[in-house]
Amino acid sequence: MSQELQQQFVRDMLAESYEGLDRFDRAILVLEQGAADAETLNDIFRVVHSLKGTAGCLGFQRIEKLTHAGESLLDLLRTGRLTPSQPIASALLRLSDNLRRLLGSVESTGADRNDDEHQPLIDEFTALRSGGVPVSSPLPMPPPVPPAPPAVATAEPAPAPAPGATPTTWGIFDESAPAPVPAAPGEPAASWGLFESATTPPPPAASPATPAPAATAAPAAPAASSVAASTVRVDVSLLDKLMNLVGELVLTRNQLTQVSQSRHLRAETVSSVSQRLNLVTTELQEGIMKTRMQPIGTIWSKFPRIVRDIAHDLGKQVRLETVGADTELDRTIIESIRDPLTHIIRNSIDHGIESPAGRAAAGKPAEGLILMRAHHEGGQVNIEIVDDGGGINLARVRQKAAEKGLLAPDAAARLTDREVLNLIFHPGFSTAEKVTNVSGRGVGMDVVKTNIEKIGGSVDVQSSAGAGTTLKIKIPLTLAIVPALIVRAGGERFAIPQVSLLELVRLEGEAAQKALEKVYDAPVFRLRGNLLPLVFLDRELKLPSGTDGDGILNIVVLQADQRSFGLVVDEVCDTEEIVVKPLGKQLKGLPMYAGATIMGDGRVALILDALGLAQHSRVVSQTQDRGHAAGTLDAAAASAAASSSQLLLFRVPGRDHLALPLDQAARLAEIETSTVERTGAREAVQYRGRIMPLVHVGRLLGGAAADTPSATGPLQVIVYSHSDHVVGLVVDEICDIVSAAVELQPGTAAPGIKGSAIIQGKITDFVDVGGILRTAGFPAARAA
């Protein structure tokens, strides 16, 4: 077997074994709780059993020996000859740790050799085995395959095998005379056998003189990343679909080549090719994205073990529950949230969950609960880590912050509870009374926060004294292609990722003149009663001042670090999906930019980083800095926003107060009535190269005078995207975007209405988009 092939098999073995060991760990935790069924025991037996066989064939003797010890014990367990116990579970977990380390050295050096001493564990297994029914004898250890020194490695004296079982390694059964298969002469032990008539001569022993190929290959080139991370499994049907799409792409390319060579270029031809290209690219992009998607469960699966070990160390009882393990996100993101999540879990157990005695005193069950939840929401993934521990002691945090000199004592007293909570993300902050082995290793929640923000996510903490703490993490689905808003300032174009975008405000004429106010010399804008600090993009980036002449003020409201600020730009262009390219290393140090992208015309635009921009301009600064008046107001707004939802308020004829959760609306658009095309009773427009059917919300809700178009101006459309389609909801007027805590009440029950709530002092009906679309004949409104 060539070295290359050997390495391929080794890589296969590693990937298979890592996967198996993860399953193994989870099963042992179940076993420890005495809840393992026969199938689970069989499964973990097979994991070790397979690894033993494969490792043996590939010449990894240490792995083989260790797995053999484990296999013998697991065999007793699965056949019920040994009862699971705490020491057994612990030994089995150590087995998986040792095996992982051995596999790790195979991965990095090509040999299963490391500094671990395996004999004690093997001895422990032997001892544990004898704790079972005495009849059990360890399975005989097969001799190692590559007989470098023949049969020298049998450190464990094989017990006398049962009579009749020659330690041969193969045999052929005989129908009539079950004679033991004679061992081939010259070979220490045969490794196969046929059950056949005794007259048949023993198999021509696979010439023992021939030295086995050097099974232990020269050290594989140390892989940069681990085996598990370097391979990905793709559904065959998805692969077929991608292949189909690539075929489509080739056809479109051919078409385009043809069109570009034709002498009389016709606009319709070009636009039809471009539409086709658009369609194929979009589908191809979605398909490729799917291959990169992995369920978050792949990293969650490690947590039961981590929780168990930490809880053990701290003498606590903790149960881990997970919801939404099948939530998928890009694998690069999955990798980068592993460490932050681990740290949060550590913290929850160490600081959150109380000791069993403490819990009993508080009237809680001795066993603490940590719940990990994940779900998709508006192009992002929300992950929550909830514990039912003692919650964060705000007074203690205030005191600590003052002690550590992070805040002046009076400043600490002035902070809102919410701001105090966020102090836990401050560098160098730790409330642990004593530095335990588990937390307090110099890595704090600030690192967690930084790492999550690095991938465009955000962390938020909520806590209630005595009842527990919830950490909420929001992260984007992918980092490679993101929807962004293109703006212009000082003659340059910039892209702002939509995740940090809250809303756009455009002020004209007199309103623009009056809008600006000053708080301590800092420009602010009063947005629905809240002060919004403003940053002028051209001044901030020292660009030539833009077009001030027309008296229009464009404010892009951005969110950074749980606060919002307004970015003043010259012009708001459009939203686009941009491909994120990293900045060159000369520009990497600039915090205001998150990267660069190439626009449709081939020119480069820089991508703005909302947080970096805010910090650079000091509108979001280190807690106690200037602009506290604005800051507090802002924090209050942000805190209200966090506990409530963003709503889009609109009007249709006959119904003046309607609302829809903002995250269900992809965009708001104005569409000229003249562009609407009619097919029978259906109306549709061409929207960004796609066909967007229009649904008149007013008609479907059966409001009064529903058929009289109220205005002759452009149609106000809420673009709603569900699964693969977009639908335009035509309304009369879009009134406002508000954030409010919503408690739906049955109210004016009607088809298409989910319920009602009081918003801004008015009874407002919540539109059931899914219901409306169904009424309008769109069956696939799954996303609603």
Binding site: E16, H49, C57, P161, G171, P178, P203, S207, P213
Partner: protein, 130 residues
């Protein structure tokens, strides 16, 4: 004519190792991940030899051997059991179920080829090993 071998093993790497060894000896190999899959293969096409692992989910190698024998009727297709357990009970079970022979894992590639050459004479033109 190329002889076809059905390799049944739930451990992917081991299955690949077996297939690779046999393919490099000029044999054709069909793979199955457990007994249930193995039987499905047998129903769909003829094979000349079966090599099966013992310990597998859904249907283990012993039960697979038993059902395969029924399915094969009287056809003389050898069945080899591949196992790390060299104990007598498993071997006897396999034998009762109708297995032709057994090979202990880990095996040397030459060994596997030699055993196959023995139960399937003429299948391997020039033994690669030995």
């Amino acid at each position: 004519m190329k002889r076809t071998i059905l390799a049944v093993d739930d451990a992917l790497t081991m299955r690949k190792l077996v297939s690779f060894t046999l393919r490099s000896a000029g044999l054709e190999v069909v793979e199955a991940a457990d007994g249930v899959e193995g039987l499905a293969v047998l129903r769909s096409r003829p094979v000349d030899l079966i090599i099966s692992d013992v310990n597998m989910p859904r249907m283990d190698g012993i039960e697979f051997t038993r059902q395969a024998r029924q399915l094969l009727g009287g056809r003389p297709v050898p069945i080899l059991i591949l196992t790390t357990e060299s104990d007598l009970t498993k071997k006897n079970d396999a034998r009762t179920a109708g297995a032709t022979g057994w090979i202990v894992k880990p095996f040397k590639q030459e060994q596997l080829i030699a055993v196959v050459a023995r139960v399937l004479p003429g299948s391997i033109a020039a033994p690669a090993a030995a």
